[in-house]
Symmetry: D2
Subunit: 234 residues, 4 copies
């Protein structure tokens, strides 16, 4: 028993070793309507004519609590520099692969050539521009070489008997981790407003965009209202 139909896509692949998989969901636009209408002691069995308007009203007026009565459980594989930003979202639940008790696999994030970029501008108004192809190739080669060397160093220390939890100090932020993330739509929209946004780092934005795809499938009216309100979370 799950809230996901078998015919729906469950998983979006990212960055060779990564994915966002919707493991389960208890989410519907109707849950927003009913938790708002309980103010007037009203309950509905299905979305009606005025209910999309109600959801737009709640979004615009930032009445956030009716958006909390639902839940999405995601299973995610991402580089640790992406996970580090993700775990700052406190109003949700996380469990993650452990580098203390478990040897991390040697999967690392390598940027596509077009994702190798320069930072331009100044604090508060940075932007990012692609680098020339030679530098992109050089950067990718550096990443590949360094990752390979580091994983060998990590492996060698453990082979000599050093504890995993200590040897991992040499692993880079580009290594892949995996985790479960359970979150309601209110907290999810806050995540999307920050992470699927121009100011977000390219890599986490790609993940946030995948998350948004699943959100829009499960709660289409809520998602449309979020977009139409300028992506300001309620």
């Amino acid at each position: 028993m799950t809230g996901i139909e078998a015919s729906e896509p469950h998983q979006i692949e990212l960055f060779e070793h990564g994915f966002v998989r919707l493991d389960d969901a208890m989410a519907s636009d109707l849950s927003v309507v009913n938790s708002a209408r309980v103010s007037f002691a009203v309950r509905k069995e299905a979305m009606g004519d005025k209910d999309a308007g109600l959801i737009r009203f709640l979004m615009r007026e930032r009445h956030g609590s009716p958006f909390e009565h639902n839940s999405f459980r995601f299973h995610i594989r991402a580089p640790i520099f992406v996970a580090r930003e993700w775990f700052r979202h406190r109003f949700s639940s996380f469990n993650e692969e452990s580098g203390r008790y478990h040897q991390l696999e040697g999967d690392f994030y390598i940027p596509e050539p077009e994702a190798v970029r320069s930072q331009v501008g100044k604090p508060g108004s940075y932007s990012f521009e692609p680098v020339d192809p030679a530098l992109a190739d050089d950067t990718i080669a550096t990443f590949e070489r360094v990752y390979k060397e580091l994983y060998a160093e990590y492996q060698a220390l453990m082979d000599k008997g050093v504890a995993k939890e200590l040897a991992r100090a040499l692993l880079p932020f580009g290594v892949f981790t995996q985790f479960y993330w359970t979150v309601n739509a209110r907290s999810l929209m806050n995540f999307l407003s920050l992470r699927n946004a121009v100011a977000a780092q390219y890599e986490i934005r790609a993940y946030a965009d995948a998350v948004e795809t699943f959100f829009s499938q499960k709660m289409p009216v809520t998602h449309r209202s979020f977009v139409d309100s300028g992506r300001t979370p309620p």
Copy 2:
């Protein structure tokens, strides 16, 4: 689409006007196992032999986070003195009937004769004893009389044009309200440890016991481990 089978009971009635109704759930023992085993990058499709032992281990060692990757949405109708205690549980979501914009119905909590009790003992070690039948009857009659008078006063003020939000100042804590409550199993077990307990007030304990029934149906291994660990939440 819902996480509740049609054949399952959805609603437990309490105290004449009250109920606990499980509106939806995304909850399974397997979600606990998978979010714990992600530490070792392992995922399972079904509960296996060692998984009940793993849940017991997590409960006993108070590794709480794997119990958060699930969600229960309850629809509850209860007296306000019960709701007041309920709303203290911050790691969950609430939307409630409003007395500002909506006239509350004239349903009030009347204790059964055996629920009319005296408080004995001293701070830190109170207990409650039944009163004699005459006092029980007298108390019930007082409740009925006072509630009826108050609701008439409330109605009369509104009939004269006084705002609902002000007139409600005369309504007593015994009036029924209704609300949605969405919560994960970790926070739910904390609620149960405090509210389905000897020290809890009789009325909220009856509600908490109904909540526990639904919890035990959806996550039987987790519930059993909670009980076996002395009802200490992880």
Copy 3:
């Protein structure tokens, strides 16, 4: 040792029996600046020229986390219908007077004549208008009479041996309670945006306005930025 200077006012009285008292605070605009500037590994001992601009930038761009590194502890006495709305603010800490183990004092909220009002308009756009003086007087007289009768009923039940926790079911929402509330500036601004606002109920708005006075004294630049940003919490 406390974060409050002896020369500062500590307490604002409201509604005859109520108050907002700042019990202690660890709050300064500098704490916002330093927790933002730690992004660049910079720490300052005092506010500098560009720091007010930084706070305005953080507020406008809704970078909320630097506003969390401070704390206000308030001691509040208010009617329960005010406290009920207050306790919905989950990202803060509460401890409240108990009606289970302690007999509540017979202090109740009586509106001033100009606070007796009618509700006009419809859902989503209500407003409140004063009633005519005769109805105001009549309402006040009703409140006084009903409160007196109810407190006598409450007292009588306890005199006969009924437990306080049960007898309180007859007490009205207008009775005063008291509580401690500890909150950081981010959560506080969210509270102010909702409760010191046109849409808020008159009585909680008066309390929120008192809270805002203390906030503006402790964090004047932050408060000014909040007001200038249209009271949108970061």
Copy 4:
């Protein structure tokens, strides 16, 4: 104005480049007592004879909310593998040095020889044993060499124009970061129960022990009760 006396030590150094500095505090045992005694509408100006007993009672019975009405603001510098565990504690506030907009300094964690260890045992009951001196020396030499190479690679990529946010993917978990952490005593005791414990990783345990020193200075009765209750957080 601060809650810290000039004569008190503010900062504890750890691991060559790290520290725990108490930036400010609003914390006292009296705040626990008053927020508990508000249940009975009682307020005290100073700790009295029975108040240590009250705190012990609250701790033992796990009445946690009175321990929330205080606040500690720490400034911490630690390796990222330590920070990663720290940031899992959601009921507190964080702001951290950014590797997106700011070049991280080349400070890295090198274990003392006696901190180079092997992991023995199996899941659920691991322990750690020192390695022989030759392996300890070899490990330290590896750490020093790898860190130096990695920082040079990171620097070289930025010199060629690659964005900091991308180049940092090569930095290892052993690099130092710094952050502010603001937390109340209830959440702090939960942190200490997990991180200043036998099962915790050696490095975060050293930090947690420093945090505990400041906690014990500010709230000595609360700290003593925590220790006496077997370090179970309330």
